[in-house]
Protein backbone atom coordinates (compact mmCIF):
# COMPACT_ATOMS: atom_id res chain seq x y z
CA UNK A 1 0.00 0.00 0.00
CA UNK A 2 2.78 2.44 0.94
CA UNK A 3 4.50 1.73 -2.38
CA UNK A 4 1.34 2.41 -4.39
CA UNK A 5 0.73 5.71 -2.58
CA UNK A 6 4.30 6.95 -3.00
CA UNK A 7 4.40 5.89 -6.66
CA UNK A 8 1.09 7.70 -7.33
CA UNK A 9 2.27 10.81 -5.43
CA UNK A 10 5.73 10.91 -6.97
CA UNK A 11 4.29 10.46 -10.45
CA UNK A 12 1.88 13.33 -9.80
CA UNK A 13 4.94 15.36 -8.79
CA UNK A 14 6.73 14.20 -11.96
CA UNK A 15 3.82 15.36 -14.16
CA UNK A 16 4.03 18.74 -12.38
CA UNK A 17 7.82 18.90 -12.73
CA UNK A 18 7.60 18.08 -16.45
CA UNK A 19 5.41 21.15 -16.90
CA UNK A 20 7.71 23.37 -14.88
CA UNK A 21 11.17 22.48 -16.24
CA UNK A 22 12.17 24.44 -19.34
CA UNK A 23 10.60 23.13 -22.50
CA UNK A 24 12.23 20.25 -24.32
CA UNK A 25 13.10 20.52 -27.99
CA UNK A 26 11.72 17.89 -30.29
CA UNK A 27 13.51 16.82 -33.43
CA UNK A 28 13.50 19.88 -35.67
CA UNK A 29 13.72 22.26 -32.74
CA UNK A 30 9.98 22.48 -32.05
CA UNK A 31 9.60 23.25 -28.33
CA UNK A 32 6.90 21.31 -26.50
CA UNK A 33 5.83 21.08 -22.91
CA UNK A 34 6.24 17.58 -21.63
CA UNK A 35 3.20 17.64 -19.34
CA UNK A 36 0.87 15.68 -21.59
CA UNK A 37 3.75 13.26 -22.13
CA UNK A 38 3.73 12.86 -18.34
CA UNK A 39 0.02 11.95 -18.47
CA UNK A 40 0.69 9.27 -21.10
CA UNK A 41 3.65 7.93 -19.08
CA UNK A 42 1.51 7.73 -15.94
CA UNK A 43 -0.70 5.25 -17.78
CA UNK A 44 2.02 3.30 -19.60
CA UNK A 45 4.40 3.02 -16.63
CA UNK A 46 2.07 2.80 -13.61
CA UNK A 47 -0.83 1.04 -15.33
CA UNK A 48 -4.48 2.13 -15.67
CA UNK A 49 -5.56 2.45 -12.02
CA UNK A 50 -2.43 3.94 -10.45
CA UNK A 51 -1.82 6.12 -13.55
CA UNK A 52 -5.32 7.60 -13.45
CA UNK A 53 -5.04 8.17 -9.69
CA UNK A 54 -1.70 9.97 -10.15
CA UNK A 55 -3.28 12.30 -12.72
CA UNK A 56 -6.36 12.84 -10.52
CA UNK A 57 -4.10 13.73 -7.58
CA UNK A 58 -2.19 16.16 -9.79
CA UNK A 59 -5.42 17.85 -10.93
CA UNK A 60 -6.75 17.92 -7.37
CA UNK A 61 -3.74 19.99 -6.34
CA UNK A 62 -4.11 22.23 -9.39
CA UNK A 63 -7.74 22.86 -8.39
CA UNK A 64 -6.68 23.65 -4.83
CA UNK A 65 -4.51 26.45 -6.20
CA UNK A 66 -1.03 25.08 -6.78
CA UNK A 67 0.60 26.45 -9.96
CA UNK A 68 1.49 23.02 -11.34
CA UNK A 69 0.18 23.18 -14.91
CA UNK A 70 2.65 23.97 -17.70
CA UNK A 71 3.72 27.61 -17.50
CA UNK A 72 2.92 27.81 -13.77
CA UNK A 73 -0.87 27.90 -14.22
CA UNK A 74 -3.24 26.58 -11.58
CA UNK A 75 -6.28 27.34 -9.47
CA UNK A 76 -9.95 26.97 -10.22
CA UNK A 77 -9.69 29.28 -13.24
CA UNK A 78 -8.08 26.62 -15.45
CA UNK A 79 -11.27 24.56 -15.17
CA UNK A 80 -13.24 27.47 -16.66
CA UNK A 81 -10.89 28.18 -19.55
CA UNK A 82 -10.93 27.08 -23.19
CA UNK A 83 -8.57 24.17 -22.49
CA UNK A 84 -10.62 22.87 -19.54
CA UNK A 85 -11.76 19.87 -21.60
CA UNK A 86 -8.20 18.66 -21.98
CA UNK A 87 -7.58 19.01 -18.26
CA UNK A 88 -10.77 17.14 -17.36
CA UNK A 89 -9.86 14.46 -19.92
CA UNK A 90 -6.36 13.86 -18.49
CA UNK A 91 -7.36 11.15 -15.95
CA UNK A 92 -9.41 9.20 -18.47
CA UNK A 93 -6.56 9.53 -20.99
CA UNK A 94 -4.19 7.97 -18.44
CA UNK A 95 -6.73 5.26 -17.62
CA UNK A 96 -7.28 4.23 -21.25
CA UNK A 97 -3.55 4.49 -22.02
CA UNK A 98 -2.72 2.27 -19.05
CA UNK A 99 -5.36 -0.30 -19.87
CA UNK A 100 -4.39 -0.48 -23.56
CA UNK A 101 -0.65 -0.60 -22.89
CA UNK A 102 -1.03 -3.54 -20.51
CA UNK A 103 -3.19 -5.27 -23.13
CA UNK A 104 -1.07 -4.54 -26.22
CA UNK A 105 2.52 -4.11 -25.09
CA UNK A 106 5.11 -6.17 -23.31
CA UNK A 107 5.79 -8.79 -25.94
CA UNK A 108 9.44 -8.25 -26.88
CA UNK A 109 10.10 -5.98 -29.85
CA UNK A 110 6.43 -5.10 -30.17
CA UNK A 111 6.66 -3.39 -26.76
CA UNK A 112 7.50 0.05 -28.10
CA UNK A 113 4.86 -0.11 -30.83
CA UNK A 114 2.14 -1.43 -28.51
CA UNK A 115 2.89 1.21 -25.88
CA UNK A 116 2.99 4.00 -28.46
CA UNK A 117 -0.38 2.87 -29.88
CA UNK A 118 -1.83 2.77 -26.37
CA UNK A 119 -0.55 6.30 -25.70
CA UNK A 120 -2.03 7.36 -29.04
CA UNK A 121 -5.44 5.93 -28.15
CA UNK A 122 -5.55 7.39 -24.62
CA UNK A 123 -3.36 10.47 -24.86
CA UNK A 124 -4.54 11.67 -28.27
CA UNK A 125 -7.89 10.11 -29.34
CA UNK A 126 -9.60 10.08 -25.93
CA UNK A 127 -7.97 13.31 -24.76
CA UNK A 128 -8.94 15.24 -27.89
CA UNK A 129 -12.57 14.12 -27.68
CA UNK A 130 -12.70 15.78 -24.25
CA UNK A 131 -10.52 18.73 -25.29
CA UNK A 132 -12.57 19.53 -28.37
CA UNK A 133 -15.89 19.07 -26.54
CA UNK A 134 -14.67 21.43 -23.80
CA UNK A 135 -13.50 24.03 -26.29
CA UNK A 136 -16.80 23.78 -28.17
CA UNK A 137 -18.76 24.25 -24.92
CA UNK A 138 -16.74 27.19 -23.57
CA UNK A 139 -16.55 29.03 -26.90
CA UNK A 140 -20.09 28.18 -27.98
CA UNK A 141 -19.31 26.60 -31.31
CA UNK A 142 -19.92 23.27 -33.02
CA UNK A 143 -17.77 20.20 -32.34
CA UNK A 144 -16.55 20.29 -35.96
CA UNK A 145 -15.49 23.94 -35.81
CA UNK A 146 -13.68 23.35 -32.52
CA UNK A 147 -11.95 20.28 -33.97
CA UNK A 148 -10.75 22.35 -36.94
CA UNK A 149 -8.91 24.68 -34.55
CA UNK A 150 -7.50 21.96 -32.28
CA UNK A 151 -6.20 19.92 -35.20
CA UNK A 152 -2.91 21.86 -35.28
CA UNK A 153 -1.84 20.41 -31.91
CA UNK A 154 -2.32 16.78 -32.96
CA UNK A 155 1.06 16.20 -34.71
CA UNK A 156 3.01 17.25 -31.58
CA UNK A 157 0.95 14.89 -29.43
CA UNK A 158 1.39 12.02 -31.88
CA UNK A 159 5.16 12.50 -31.56
CA UNK A 160 4.79 12.46 -27.76
CA UNK A 161 2.89 9.15 -27.99
CA UNK A 162 5.77 7.62 -29.95
CA UNK A 163 8.29 8.98 -27.43
CA UNK A 164 6.14 7.53 -24.61
CA UNK A 165 6.61 4.12 -26.25
CA UNK A 166 10.40 4.37 -26.20
CA UNK A 167 10.63 5.94 -22.74
CA UNK A 168 8.26 3.40 -21.17
CA UNK A 169 10.14 0.42 -22.55
CA UNK A 170 13.41 1.94 -21.26
CA UNK A 171 11.93 2.51 -17.79
CA UNK A 172 10.36 -0.97 -17.59
CA UNK A 173 13.67 -2.56 -18.67
CA UNK A 174 15.52 -0.63 -15.95
CA UNK A 175 12.87 -1.25 -13.25
CA UNK A 176 11.02 -4.46 -14.17
CA UNK A 177 9.29 -4.53 -10.77
CA UNK A 178 7.02 -1.68 -11.85
CA UNK A 179 4.84 -3.85 -14.04
CA UNK A 180 3.51 -5.70 -11.00
CA UNK A 181 0.88 -4.22 -8.69
Amino acid sequence: MERNITLIALFAALIAALGLVPKFDLAGGVPITAQSLGVMLAGTILGARRGALAVLLFLFLVALGLPLLAGGRGGLGVFQGPTAGFIVGFPLAALVTGWASRAWAGRGATGVLGTALAALLGGVVVLYVFGIAGFALVTDRSFGAAAAIMWVFVPGDVIKAVLAGFITQGVLRARPDLARG
Binding site: A9, L10, A16, A34, G75, L76, V138
Partner: protein
Amino acid sequence: MLSLTSERRTPWHAIAAGPKMLVLLAATLGAFWIEGVGPILGFAATVAALYMPGGLVFARAGARMLAPVVPFVVVILAWHWWTGALAQGVVIVLRMVALIALANLVTMTTRLQDMLDRVDAALALLRLPQAWRRRLALAVALVIRFTPVLVQKGAALSQSWRARSRRRPGWRLVLPFALVAIDDAERVAEALRARSGEL
Protein backbone atom coordinates in the same frame (compact mmCIF):
# COMPACT_ATOMS: atom_id res chain seq x y z
CA MET B 1 5.87 28.16 -0.95
CA LEU B 2 4.36 26.66 -4.06
CA SER B 3 1.03 28.51 -4.13
CA LEU B 4 -1.07 31.04 -6.02
CA THR B 5 -2.58 32.55 -2.87
CA SER B 6 -1.90 36.28 -2.74
CA GLU B 7 0.01 37.70 0.21
CA ARG B 8 -1.83 40.99 -0.23
CA ARG B 9 -4.82 40.92 2.13
CA THR B 10 -8.28 41.63 0.78
CA PRO B 11 -11.69 41.42 2.48
CA TRP B 12 -12.21 38.17 0.52
CA HIS B 13 -9.38 36.48 2.45
CA ALA B 14 -11.55 36.62 5.58
CA ILE B 15 -14.43 34.71 3.96
CA ALA B 16 -14.33 30.92 4.39
CA ALA B 17 -13.47 28.73 1.39
CA GLY B 18 -16.86 26.97 1.31
CA PRO B 19 -19.10 30.01 0.66
CA LYS B 20 -16.65 31.35 -1.93
CA MET B 21 -16.72 28.04 -3.82
CA LEU B 22 -20.53 28.00 -3.72
CA VAL B 23 -20.72 31.56 -5.12
CA LEU B 24 -18.27 30.56 -7.87
CA LEU B 25 -20.39 27.51 -8.72
CA ALA B 26 -23.58 29.59 -8.82
CA ALA B 27 -21.91 32.27 -10.97
CA THR B 28 -20.58 29.64 -13.37
CA LEU B 29 -24.02 28.13 -13.86
CA GLY B 30 -25.72 31.53 -13.97
CA ALA B 31 -23.31 33.08 -16.49
CA PHE B 32 -24.47 30.72 -19.23
CA TRP B 33 -27.98 32.23 -18.97
CA ILE B 34 -26.74 35.79 -19.53
CA GLU B 35 -27.41 36.95 -23.09
CA GLY B 36 -26.49 40.19 -24.87
CA VAL B 37 -23.42 42.40 -24.75
CA GLY B 38 -24.78 44.82 -22.13
CA PRO B 39 -25.61 42.30 -19.38
CA ILE B 40 -22.41 40.31 -19.89
CA LEU B 41 -20.39 43.53 -19.81
CA GLY B 42 -22.03 44.29 -16.46
CA PHE B 43 -21.10 40.82 -15.20
CA ALA B 44 -17.47 41.24 -16.31
CA ALA B 45 -17.28 44.72 -14.75
CA THR B 46 -18.63 43.33 -11.46
CA VAL B 47 -15.93 40.66 -11.42
CA ALA B 48 -13.27 43.29 -12.19
CA ALA B 49 -14.61 45.45 -9.36
CA LEU B 50 -14.18 42.52 -6.96
CA TYR B 51 -10.42 42.79 -7.52
CA MET B 52 -10.35 46.47 -6.51
CA PRO B 53 -10.28 46.08 -2.68
CA GLY B 54 -6.91 44.35 -3.12
CA GLY B 55 -5.36 47.40 -4.74
CA LEU B 56 -3.53 47.83 -8.02
CA VAL B 57 -0.79 45.27 -7.36
CA PHE B 58 -3.39 42.61 -6.56
CA ALA B 59 -5.43 43.48 -9.67
CA ARG B 60 -2.29 43.34 -11.79
CA ALA B 61 -1.45 39.89 -10.41
CA GLY B 62 -4.98 38.80 -11.35
CA ALA B 63 -4.54 40.20 -14.86
CA ARG B 64 -1.26 38.30 -15.23
CA MET B 65 -3.08 35.05 -14.44
CA LEU B 66 -5.35 35.76 -17.41
CA ALA B 67 -2.46 36.06 -19.87
CA PRO B 68 -2.63 32.43 -21.13
CA VAL B 69 -6.21 33.05 -22.32
CA VAL B 70 -5.28 35.97 -24.59
CA PRO B 71 -4.47 33.85 -27.70
CA PHE B 72 -7.88 32.16 -27.40
CA VAL B 73 -9.61 35.53 -27.04
CA VAL B 74 -7.94 36.71 -30.26
CA VAL B 75 -8.89 33.53 -32.17
CA ILE B 76 -12.53 33.60 -31.00
CA LEU B 77 -12.97 37.30 -31.76
CA ALA B 78 -11.30 36.95 -35.18
CA TRP B 79 -13.51 33.97 -36.01
CA HIS B 80 -16.73 35.79 -35.07
CA TRP B 81 -15.68 38.95 -36.85
CA TRP B 82 -15.02 36.84 -39.96
CA THR B 83 -18.42 35.14 -39.75
CA GLY B 84 -20.16 38.47 -39.12
CA ALA B 85 -21.28 37.67 -35.57
CA LEU B 86 -18.89 39.85 -33.60
CA ALA B 87 -21.44 40.63 -30.87
CA GLN B 88 -21.82 36.92 -30.15
CA GLY B 89 -18.02 36.59 -30.02
CA VAL B 90 -17.78 39.43 -27.51
CA VAL B 91 -20.38 37.74 -25.27
CA ILE B 92 -18.50 34.42 -25.39
CA VAL B 93 -15.13 36.04 -24.67
CA LEU B 94 -16.39 38.23 -21.83
CA ARG B 95 -18.21 35.32 -20.18
CA MET B 96 -15.13 33.10 -20.43
CA VAL B 97 -12.68 35.72 -19.16
CA ALA B 98 -14.99 36.86 -16.33
CA LEU B 99 -15.52 33.29 -15.10
CA ILE B 100 -11.80 32.52 -15.20
CA ALA B 101 -11.06 35.77 -13.35
CA LEU B 102 -13.70 34.94 -10.71
CA ALA B 103 -12.27 31.44 -10.19
CA ASN B 104 -8.77 32.91 -9.98
CA LEU B 105 -10.01 35.38 -7.37
CA VAL B 106 -11.18 32.48 -5.19
CA THR B 107 -7.79 30.81 -5.61
CA MET B 108 -5.88 34.03 -4.87
CA THR B 109 -7.80 34.75 -1.67
CA THR B 110 -8.00 31.25 -0.16
CA ARG B 111 -5.12 29.59 1.68
CA LEU B 112 -4.19 26.07 0.59
CA GLN B 113 -4.79 24.78 4.12
CA ASP B 114 -8.35 26.18 4.09
CA MET B 115 -9.02 24.45 0.76
CA LEU B 116 -7.65 21.17 2.15
CA ASP B 117 -9.78 21.52 5.30
CA ARG B 118 -12.87 22.02 3.12
CA VAL B 119 -12.05 18.93 1.08
CA ASP B 120 -11.48 16.89 4.24
CA ALA B 121 -14.80 18.08 5.66
CA ALA B 122 -16.54 17.18 2.38
CA LEU B 123 -14.96 13.71 2.41
CA ALA B 124 -16.04 13.22 6.04
CA LEU B 125 -19.55 14.27 5.03
CA LEU B 126 -19.50 11.60 2.33
CA ARG B 127 -18.59 9.12 5.09
CA LEU B 128 -15.42 8.02 3.34
CA PRO B 129 -13.30 5.77 5.58
CA GLN B 130 -10.75 7.50 7.80
CA ALA B 131 -7.95 5.46 6.19
CA TRP B 132 -8.77 6.87 2.72
CA ARG B 133 -8.68 10.42 4.05
CA ARG B 134 -5.31 9.75 5.71
CA ARG B 135 -3.89 8.33 2.46
CA LEU B 136 -5.12 11.35 0.50
CA ALA B 137 -3.55 13.71 3.04
CA LEU B 138 -0.25 11.82 2.81
CA ALA B 139 -0.32 11.82 -1.01
CA VAL B 140 -1.04 15.58 -1.11
CA ALA B 141 1.82 16.26 1.30
CA LEU B 142 4.18 14.10 -0.77
CA VAL B 143 3.36 15.93 -4.02
CA ILE B 144 3.81 19.35 -2.38
CA ARG B 145 7.11 18.23 -0.86
CA PHE B 146 8.51 16.44 -3.90
CA THR B 147 7.52 18.68 -6.82
CA PRO B 148 10.24 21.27 -6.02
CA VAL B 149 12.70 18.41 -5.36
CA LEU B 150 11.98 16.87 -8.77
CA VAL B 151 12.17 20.25 -10.52
CA GLN B 152 15.61 20.67 -8.96
CA LYS B 153 16.70 17.18 -9.98
CA GLY B 154 15.37 17.80 -13.50
CA ALA B 155 17.39 21.01 -13.70
CA ALA B 156 20.49 19.08 -12.51
CA LEU B 157 19.95 16.46 -15.24
CA SER B 158 19.56 19.26 -17.77
CA GLN B 159 22.81 20.84 -16.59
CA SER B 160 24.75 17.62 -16.84
CA TRP B 161 23.46 17.23 -20.38
CA ARG B 162 24.62 20.73 -21.28
CA ALA B 163 28.04 20.05 -19.75
CA ARG B 164 28.48 17.13 -22.14
CA SER B 165 26.70 18.21 -25.30
CA ARG B 166 26.42 21.30 -27.42
CA ARG B 167 22.85 20.37 -28.35
CA ARG B 168 19.95 21.47 -26.16
CA PRO B 169 18.53 18.88 -23.75
CA GLY B 170 15.93 16.77 -25.51
CA TRP B 171 13.28 14.19 -24.79
CA ARG B 172 15.97 11.62 -23.88
CA LEU B 173 16.19 13.29 -20.46
CA VAL B 174 12.61 12.23 -19.65
CA LEU B 175 13.70 8.60 -19.14
CA PRO B 176 16.27 9.27 -16.39
CA PHE B 177 13.89 11.88 -14.99
CA ALA B 178 11.13 9.26 -14.64
CA LEU B 179 13.61 6.85 -13.06
CA VAL B 180 14.58 9.52 -10.49
CA ALA B 181 10.90 9.91 -9.50
CA ILE B 182 10.32 6.15 -9.35
CA ASP B 183 13.44 5.53 -7.23
CA ASP B 184 12.46 8.35 -4.86
CA ALA B 185 9.00 6.77 -4.54
CA GLU B 186 10.52 3.38 -3.66
CA ARG B 187 12.78 4.95 -1.04
CA VAL B 188 9.94 6.96 0.54
CA ALA B 189 7.73 3.83 0.61
CA GLU B 190 10.48 1.93 2.39
CA ALA B 191 10.94 4.75 4.90
CA LEU B 192 7.18 4.86 5.54
CA ARG B 193 7.03 1.11 6.04
CA ALA B 194 9.93 1.32 8.49
CA ARG B 195 8.50 4.18 10.53
CA SER B 196 4.73 4.03 10.42
CA GLY B 197 1.94 1.60 11.09
CA GLU B 198 -0.88 0.65 8.76
CA LEU B 199 -1.81 3.12 6.05
